[in-house]
């Protein structure tokens, strides 16, 4: 048994310790908002927060996250939509929507550390793949959030 802290709650899971966090979230705990895209940390669809940092959960063994605070897309807006989620609605960002939980988690983690990211900061931090090509709208939404945060 491993004890995990996910979205502010303690959860017990009985899985092999090398199981990637992604599959524990999706299959064991039913938190399917976090997506499987590549399995090799190349696309970012599985991005969650580990103690506030954006990480790619498809390559992190669950044994490595015990005792850390894990936040998934389900937890991000649990107490009202996060400003990133609001901006995503205002700018009508999602198309198929599959990569968006990961894109939103990466964006929220960036803003938490760097409330006024430059274009270069966005380029560096948001390396998630979106096959629908929502990148232009992601940038616009992020510029809006960053502007609002700066007053």
């Amino acid at each position: 048994m491993l004890e995990l802290r996910i979205n502010g709650e303690a959860r017990q899971v009985d899985v092999e310790p090398d199981t990637p966090l992604l599959w524990v979230l999706r299959d064991t705990l039913g938190l399917t908002g976090t997506k499987f895209g590549c399995g090799v940390a190349a696309c970012g669809a599985c991005t969650v927060h580990l103690d506030g940092e954006a990480v790619r959960s498809c390559v992190i063994p669950v044994s490595a996250v015990a005792g850390k605070e894990i936040t998934t897309i389900e937890g991000l807006g649990a107490k009202g939509l996060h400003p990133v989620q609001q901006a995503w609605i205002a700018h009508q960002v999602p198309q198929c929507g599959y990569c968006q939980p990961g894109m939103i988690m990466a964006s929220a983690a960036l803003l938490a550390k760097n409330p006024r990211p430059s274009e270069a900061d966005l380029d560096a931090a948001l390396s998630n793949i979106c096959r629908c090509g929502t990148y232009g709208r992601v940038k616009k939404a992020m510029r809006a959030v960053a502007g609002r945060k700066g007053g």
Binding site: C38, G77, G97, R137
Partner: protein, 757 residues
């Protein structure tokens, strides 16, 4: 515009007769039945079905059945807008629901579009075949999303459904007020009584209205009266897509569900020979190994456990006859077929060959494109449950009707015993019109009766077992007169047939005689330019590589070929590429306006910033016209960066302008990924790429500034989901020429060929 030759016509009739006779007998659907209530839509929840497309709850919530599948293109917003417009619904109360499989929801335009004729060909033969296709569509009731047909398909029945429901609500209100329907009007979810201030919400009227017979010929609004159509209404699926609650196929969870991972034969044309599952017994959660279409699946109580067990499974493959095939051999075959293969003429005007023989100045070039994978973000997956003579399937798919057919075949039960649930699609792009993953999931489910199983492919399987955009080559010869005007245009394309490959996979008997595949020459045989002597041919060159519908299909390469060669012709004529195109569009005012809009908004004719090259391309597909101007910079090492794209589009009537802009941005990114990075290659019969590290995608850091300008022409509806993709590769390639003086004749664009010094 000439059609295919007589022999081909006969073959086409044979094909239609086979499809019509073999699959469709006994599925008659008369047009007037399209408003029928569909039980699977009507039941569930507390809403009242007014017809097969609209149900209204006591709280006034309007639920619209959407027969097309949402894969990002915004169809679960655009189609409800059509209903809501005629219903006078309050948009904030409108919801979309995936329509169940039923013939009333069949796509009535996609088969007609597949015919090998110009949409403007009004000749008797083309018209007759179009009629046959329409009748076949009615008979079939084939629900399919593809060919950018969804809005065109929904335009008539969904507006009629909304208007019919509105008349029913008005009838009930009029009866309650003891007045005539003419004394009532509707607005934002209410029926109002003229001159009285009285009003009744749709939710208060729905139960009684649902008892009425739907009017078959309701009065539709004049376009001038539209309040919703043409506005950027917010998408209905956005909230669920930002909070993680949107349900994709891969998210399906059922009680006692098992999971399956799959490995397919690495060589095309090979097969599973043997495997030894004995060693897997005792592994945590392992349940079974099951031979399936293309390979073997391992079932366990979690996907990760299934995958780990699969990794340990010793599999022996019969690699079949193609284990030595590589990309070089395929292109060498294309080269031979270009010179010696049997060409089918797709378009002919005047005497191109004769004019070329006499011409003083001839321009020649040969182009090529590679195979491409779809790489939808959501890997292929399907969940199935089999038992008690029934089969239930949950799948992100582009054709619920086909899912029902192939599931019934795989499960050996009749159509009616198969229930299909269509989830959101994490990307489609044509890949999810294929049915391989459905057959596999049903096969696995049969091995564990009564227990649902979710099959999920790894990304590696997804990249290596796709149905690829065909690799193709295209050769051009054109002649210019002394003033630089084109005298002749000859074009021969070589590649495999997507439609043939698809049908061979789909139809149980396979190998039937097919007509020429329209997709081979689409975008090359229907050029808008005035070219008096023109001949466009295609040579079918089959390969063992399965090919499929990839966003914009034949247009995806023919636009690159034709618009780059036209640019070469302009340069040879010493003319500006924009002005050169203008000069050939005198009889195509819509194309001219789209081209001019993109050029003007991009500042064509002004001097670009230092180091920037500007390129232009125009391409019509799926009854829409798109022009794009790209601005690129090229480093000394030959690396291309696309800085800005200006896009103009005429898709007839704009339903939701924000969706159109989003689809243009999407099409540009999809086409840019292919132009800059996309290449699937073979060695030893195997696909060499496996995952995103070696099948590169455009990312945010590579994203150009992109802007879209909608040119409203009021013409008949056109498509939007695919049409933004074709012009971007030639616009960028032409911009690279402007920046470097080097022609790009092969995709993807290679830095090594553009590096200086």
């Amino acid at each position: 515009m000439s059609g295919p030759k007589n022999k081909s016509r006969r073959r086409f009739f044979i094909a239609v007769a086979l499809v019509g006779g073999g699959l469709l007998v006994g599925y008659a659907l008369r047009g007037r039945d399209r408003l029928a209530r569909v039980p699977a839509f009507a039941r569930g929840g507390k809403a009242f079905a007014l017809n097969g497309w609209v149900k209204i709850g006591p709280d006034g919530t309007v639920t619209v059945a959407v027969p097309h599948q949402e894969m990002g293109q915004g169809i679960t917003t655009a189609l409800p807008m059509l209903v809501a417009e005629e219903l006078d619904a309050d948009w904030s109360t409108v919801r979309a629901e995936q329509a169940p499989v039923d013939k009333i929801y069949g796509n009535m335009v996609v088969l007609g579009d597949s015919l090998p004729f110009d949409p403007d060909d009004r000749g008797a033969f083309a018209s007759a075949l179009r009629w046959v296709a329409h009748k076949a569509s009615e008979t079939l009731g084939l629900m399919v999303t593809g060919g950018s047909t969804s809005v065109r398909d929904g335009w008539e029945p969904m507006r009629v459904a909304g208007a019919s429901a509105r008349e029913m609500l008005v009838a009930v209100a009029a009866k309650r007020w003891n007045t005539a329907p003419a004394e009532c009007f509707t607005d934002a979810g209410y029926v109002l009584r003229r001159g009285s201030g009285e009003k009744l919400g749709y939710g208060e009227l729905a139960a009684e209205a649902a008892q009425l017979e739907p009017p078959r010929k309701p009065k539709l609004k004049a376009r001038a009266d539209y309040k919703l159509i043409g506005t950027p209404a917010p998408r209905l699926d956005t909230p669920a897509k930002v909070d993680g609650s949107a349900q994709f196929g891969i998210d399906v969870r059922l009680p006692h569900m098992l999971y399956a991972a799959i490995r397919q034969c690495p060589v095309f044309g090979g097969a599973l020979k043997a495997y030894d599952a004995a060693k897997l017994r005792g592994l945590p959660g392992f349940k079974a190994a099951v031979p399936v279409l293309g390979g073997v699946a391992v079932v366990a109580d979690s996907w990760w456990r299934a995958k780990r067990a699969l990794d340990q499974l010793e599999i022996t493959w019969d690699e079949g006859p193609h284990a030595a095939l590589d990309s070089g051999a395929i292109f060498a075959q294309y080269g031979r077929d270009l010179e010696h293969g049997k060409a089918t003429t797709y378009a002919e005007r005047g005497d191109a060959v004769g004019a070329l023989a006499k011409a003083a100045k001839v321009v020649e070039a040969e182009y090529r494109v590679p195979f491409l994978a779809h790489a939808t973000m959501e890997p292929m997956n399907c969940t199935a449950r089999f038992g008690n003579g029934r089969c239930e399937v949950w799948a992100p798919n582009q054709s619920p009707t086909l899912v029902q057919w192939v599931a019934s075949r795989a499960a050996s039960v009749d159509f009616g015993s198969v229930t299909v649930h269509t989830t959101f699609l994490g990307g489609g792009f044509g890949r999810r019109a294929e049915m391989d993953y459905v057959v596999q999931a049903v096969t696995v489910a049969k091995a564990v009766p009564g227990t649902p199983v979710k099959l999920v492919w790894s990304r590696e399987e997804d990249i290596r077992h796709d149905t690829y955009r065909p690799a193709a080559i295209s050769k051009f010869r054109a002649a210019l007169d002394g003033a630089g005007a084109p005298l002749a245009w000859w074009n021969r394309i070589v590649g495999p047939s997507v439609t043939r490959s698809f049908m061979d996979r789909l139809l149980p008997w396979g190998g039937m005689d097919y007509p020429p595949d329209k997709t081979n020459a689409e975008g090359a045989d229907d050029l808008p330019y005035e070219l008096a002597n023109l001949r466009v041919e295609h040579v079918l060159s089959k390969t063992p590589v399965p090919v499929g519908f990839w966003r914009s299909v034949g247009h995806s390469y023919n636009a690159f070929f034709t618009e780059c060669f036209l640019d070469e012709l302009a340069a040879a004529a010493g003319k500006d590429p924009y002005q050169f195109r203008r000069g050939l569009l005198a009889t195509h005012p819509r194309h001219l306006r789209v081209l001019a809009t993109a050029a003007e908004k991009a500042g064509w004719g002004t001097t670009p910033a230092p180091g920037i090259g500007r390129g232009i391309a125009l391409h019509a597909s799926f009854r829409a016209i798109v022009a794009q101007v790209a601005e690129v910079s090229v480093t000394d090492k030959g690396e291309v960066r696309v800085q800005r794209v200006v896009c103009a589009v005429d898709c007839g009537t704009a339903i939701n302008p924000d969706t159109i802009a989003a689809q243009m941005e999407s099409g540009i990114v999809f086409g840019l990924t292919a132009a800059l990075y996309g290449e699937i290659t073979l060695d030893k019969g195997r696909i060499e790429q496996a995952n995103f590290p070696d099948y590169r995608m455009l990312r945010l850091a590579d994203m150009p500034e992109a802007e879209t300008h909608i040119v409203e022409s009021g013409a008949a509806l056109g498509g939007i989901g695919e049409v933004g993709t074709p012009p971007i590769a030639p616009a960028v390639a032409n911009a690279v020429f402007a920046a470097t003086g080097k022609r790009v004749r092969s995709l993807p664009i290679r830095a090594s060929e553009l590096a200086r010094g």
